[in-house]
């Protein structure tokens, strides 16, 4: 891990047109403070990769309803009416990805794999334009890895080394995105001196910065 940073230092890392992965499932485990800082920074034309579109006033939904997002890659957008409206106005491009495929595409990027083969989506519109590969008589879709410039991690507890563990169901996509972006930043509820090594879910070299609350 490099270091702890504050909100202003985090904002300096942000640029227009960035691709940003955001953890959380229907905002459970969503890094709300980091998202607020992205909002405050004024950066725009973002590509957001997240399980879902969040809610109008919570999670990545805040960035979407403020018109900062030009592309959303997600598995579910039904909880945020703004997504549908902006899609119809052609102000937002949405790529819908089956949830398990989204998880594996992100994992593949973080694990140095060239893609994954999944039976999910065969004979559906998801298969459109994708290579189908047969293994032992079964058809699989070749799904390519998905990476980003930035990963914003939530739902975590850190230790002073930068190791993370996650709280209850807040784990979801967070450990996956931590490995799949050029820069990974975690928002944590608190920092303990040292986590039991056996409970660490994301080892500290995978985390670049941890957001420190301004005193």
């Amino acid at each position: 891990m490099k270091s702890f940073i504050n909100r202003n230092e985090f904002i300096k890392l942000l640029k227009n047109n960035m691709s940003i992965m955001v953890g959380g499932f229907l905002t459970n485990g969503s890094p709300e403070k980091l998202i607020d800082a992205v909002l405050e920074s004024g950066v725009t034309n973002l590509t957001i990769i997240c399980n879902d579109g969040g809610y109008d006033n919570k999670g990545v939904g805040k960035l979407i309803s403020s018109g900062r997002v030009s592309k959303l890659i997600a598995s579910h957008i039904g909880t945020n009416p703004s997504v549908g409206v902006l899609m119809q106005q052609e102000k937002l491009e949405v790529e819908l990805v089956p949830q398990g495929t989204l998880a594996e595409r992100i994992r593949a990027a973080g694990a140095g794999l060239g893609g994954i083969l999944t039976p999910t989506g065969i004979n559906t519109v998801v298969a459109k334009g994708k290579q189908i590969i047969q293994i032992a008589g079964i058809e699989y879709l070749l799904e390519e890895p998905l990476k980003a410039d930035l990963a914003l991690i939530g739902g975590a507890i850190a230790d002073e080394f930068g190791n993370l563990r996650y709280r209850e169901t807040m784990r979801n996509f967070n450990p996956l995105i931590a490995m799949a972006a050029d820069l990974s930043i975690a928002e944590v509820s608190h920092v303990v001196r040292m986590l039991d090594p056996e409970t660490v879910i994301t080892p500290h070299p995978l985390i670049d910065y941890i957001l420190r609350e301004d005193q």
Partner: protein, 215 residues
């Protein structure tokens, strides 16, 4: 009896001792309330939990796949989304129960998009129906009189030929190699009424009264 309760009660009878089960949002969630107390069924939610318990009135860091605060039962565990869908896609879930907009007599289903009208996204449904050992559709028999059980789905598919059973307030049906079999009919309806409410051809041999329903 409310038609949703009829469906939920009958589906609960399809669950067996030791099953790992994923319940979708809506009527499928209600199935949990009617599981026989004498058997142990473990519930999985795709956001990363095995052993999810009843909903919680207070705010918790544990949520279900609908984003509602919930509890975890003794013996339960939390995991990330890649692990969750490895469990789902890998065939470790015995039964998945989910809703649908259309199902056809070959066992294909459509549940995630009405083009030009509603695009909630597929979430985890595509992976669940491909991966689970048994797929049960929980839905009302028709959409205000318009059949939902068709010869061929008209909406974009969630998956091709993956459904095993359809349970509605009117009947219990099973998809077998030779087609859609009508197995049980709710005694509030006649076989003729079920045939009229179903577009797909029903194979009718031995029809018995719908189990668990006392009228």
């Amino acid at each position: 009896m409310d038609e949703k309760i009829i469906i939920a009660k009958r589906i609960a009878m399809e669950l067996h001792q030791g099953d790992l089960v994923n319940l979708g949002i809506g009527i499928p969630t209600m199935v949990a309330d009617y599981i026989d107390h004498n058997i142990n069924v473990t519930l999985q939610c795709e956001n990363g939990i095995i052993g999810i318990g009843p909903l919680s009135d207070i705010t918790t860091e544990t949520v279900n796949a609908g984003g509602n605060c919930a509890t975890i039962l003794p013996g339960g565990s939390f995991f990330d989304s890649a692990m969750s869908f490895a469990i789902i896609r890998g065939g470790h879930v015995d039964v998945t129960v989910l809703g649908a907009l259309e199902v056809d007599c070959e066992g294909s289903l459509a549940s995630w998009i009405i083009p030009g009208k509603k695009v909630p996204g597929m979430g985890g449904a595509m992976d669940l129906v491909v991966g689970a050992k048994k797929v049960i559709i929980a839905m009302t028999h028709t959409n205000k009189g318009i059949p939902k059980i068709l010869n061929k789905c008209t909406l974009p598919l969630t998956a091709y030929k993956q459904v095993n059973m359809i349970i509605t307030e009117m009947a219990v049906m099973e998809i077998r190699n030779d087609g859609l079999h009508l197995l049980e009919v709710n005694s509030d309806y006649t076989i003729e009424q079920v045939i009229l409410a179903t577009e797909a051809k029903l194979i009718i041999n031995n029809v018995i009264p719908m189990k668990g329903i006392v009228s």
